[in-house]
């Protein structure tokens, strides 16, 4: 067993883990943070995307021991807690835009899509349709056909920049 300590969604956690434990299993099974999904388990689909020290990574392809000492952000830490009980009021602009632009159907890919999109927008606050598609090439969706996902990311980007843009995209 190896000791790990990491900051996950703003809270510090310390545990003894087997070196072979994957980060995604640490998040889901040790911390109960099941918001992060396992899709393909073969490093392709991006459903398991979280941020490690501010960068998007596929948590099914990182060992928990590699993340020791790191800062992890998962989909579960994205919304702000709102004290008046109105949960939606605390949503991140990306969460809101995926909702309003219908950027999901079954929702399985969504936690990974949103975390990958958040990293993309931190690098490029005003991406073109092409840049969104290229930036999210590590995330697969089997339902939506991507059109509304791209729209949602650009809508959220506009809100985060504080302006309105034309988010019409081709099919």
């Amino acid at each position: 067993m190896t000791s790990v300590q990491m900051n996950v969604d703003g809270e510090t956690h310390s545990d003894e883990v087997e070196p072979r434990l994957l980060l995604v299993h640490y998040l889901r099974e040790f911390l109960g943070k099941t918001g992060t999904n396992v899709g393909c388990d073969t490093s392709n689909c991006g459903a398991c995307t979280v941020h490690l020290d501010g960068r998007s990574v596929k948590s099914c392809t990182v060992l928990a021991v590699q993340a020791d000492g790191g800062d992890i952000d998962t989909i579960e830490g994205l919304a702000e807690f709102s004290s008046n009980g109105d949960e939606e009021a605390g949503w991140h602009p990306l969460q809101r835009a995926f909702h309003t632009e219908h950027g999901l159907q079954c929702g399985y890919c969504t936690p990974g899509m949103i975390m990958a999109a958040k990293d993309l927008l931190s690098e490029n606050p005003d991406p073109t349709e092409d840049e969104v598609r290229h930036g999210l090439e590590g995330n697969l969706c089997r339902c939506t056909g991507y059109v509304n996902i791209v729209k949602a990311v650009r809508t959220a980007a506009a809100e985060m920049r504080g302006d309105k843009v034309d988010t019409e995209v081709g099919a």
Partner: protein
């Protein structure tokens, strides 16, 4: 999928990593970004008994300029950090451009230049690039350091001339400034996938002619290759000779047949992609 059990050693320095490799022999494997090794371990295609993690060896990250004018890139520098590095962008933009086509954003955040070269996969993008750039790797073992030219590095399918007890510490590349142009054509079935075939063309222009041309081929054999026949045909030739020269791109290759392509189709792709890459590089 869960890897088989292994003992985990976190190296604090290159010396510690070399000592651990020496102690554990071929039961041990180095762990860099883990984006080739961990998928293999999850599939139980690899089950090393000891993993030696280089993640904490900060001395292996970053880029500097050597006295001889080449760039030195630390082996543990992540693909994204190679792409974003100012020295690389300014003096070896070709390396940044090829690295940008590796995998997807998440893969580029974890995978490292040293890991990609040590893995030695002829289907991955950086081995052919290092070969075309005449780059080298510096390795450190129990008896000290040595520098291995790319031409001597890749010896067979997933096999390199790096010994079991050696660690890649640096990757060295010459500068490609001024009159050099380049273009990497990567043909793949889906956006994030490995190349079915890739062709990296570099052209040094002088007075409207090709002074020197280089071509690196991805996935045209068990090792990355240079299209030497194309390079020879173009040396000193006019730029409009590119199309004819590119017809030689598949000479001397031994392209594999797999689910994605027959070897004949790969040979066709090599010719077409080499023409496109060199035309864009000369443009």
């Amino acid at each position: 999928m869960i890897p088989a059990t292994f003992d985990y050693i976190r190296a604090g320095s290159v010396e510690e990593a070399v000592a651990a490799l020496t102690e554990h022999g071929d039961e041990a494997k180095l762990l860099a970004g883990g984006h080739s090794l961990l998928p293999l371990m999850k599939l139980r295609l690899a089950s090393p008994e000891v993993l030696i993690d280089l993640g904490r060896v900060d001395a292996l990250r970053g880029v500097c300029e050597l006295d001889d004018g080449r760039l030195s890139i630390g082996a543990m520098t992540a693909h994204q950090d190679v792409i974003d590095n100012d020295l690389v962008r300014q003096h070896c933009g070709v390396l940044a451009d090829v690295t940008r086509q590796v995998g997807d954003a998440q893969v580029r955040h974890r995978g490292t230049i040293g890991g990609a070269l040590a893995h030695g996969d002829a289907a991955s993008d950086l081995p052919a690039a290092l070969l075309a750039l005449d780059g080298t790797v510096v390795v450190q073992g129990p008896s000290g350091q040595r520098e291995i030219a790319a031409a001597d590095l890749f010896v067979d399918y997933l096999a390199t001339s790096i010994s079991d007890d050696e660690v890649i510490t640096e990757v060295r590349v010459p500068k490609f400034d001024g009159s050099w142009g380049w273009n990497y054509q990567k043909f793949s079935r889906v956006a994030q996938a490995w190349a079915i075939v890739g062709s990296l063309g570099l052209v040094k222009r002088s007075n409207g002619n090709v002074e020197e041309a280089r071509v690196g081929l991805t996935h045209m054999g068990t090792v990355p290759l240079r299209a030497t026949a194309v390079e020879q045909a173009l040396a000193g030739a006019a730029i409009d000779g590119i199309a004819d020269a590119a017809e030689h791109a598949a000479e001397g290759t031994s392209a594999p047949t797999d689910l994605n392509a027959t070897s004949e189709f790969r040979e066709h792709l090599a010719r077409v992609l080499t023409k496109r890459a060199l035309t864009a590089a000369a443009g």
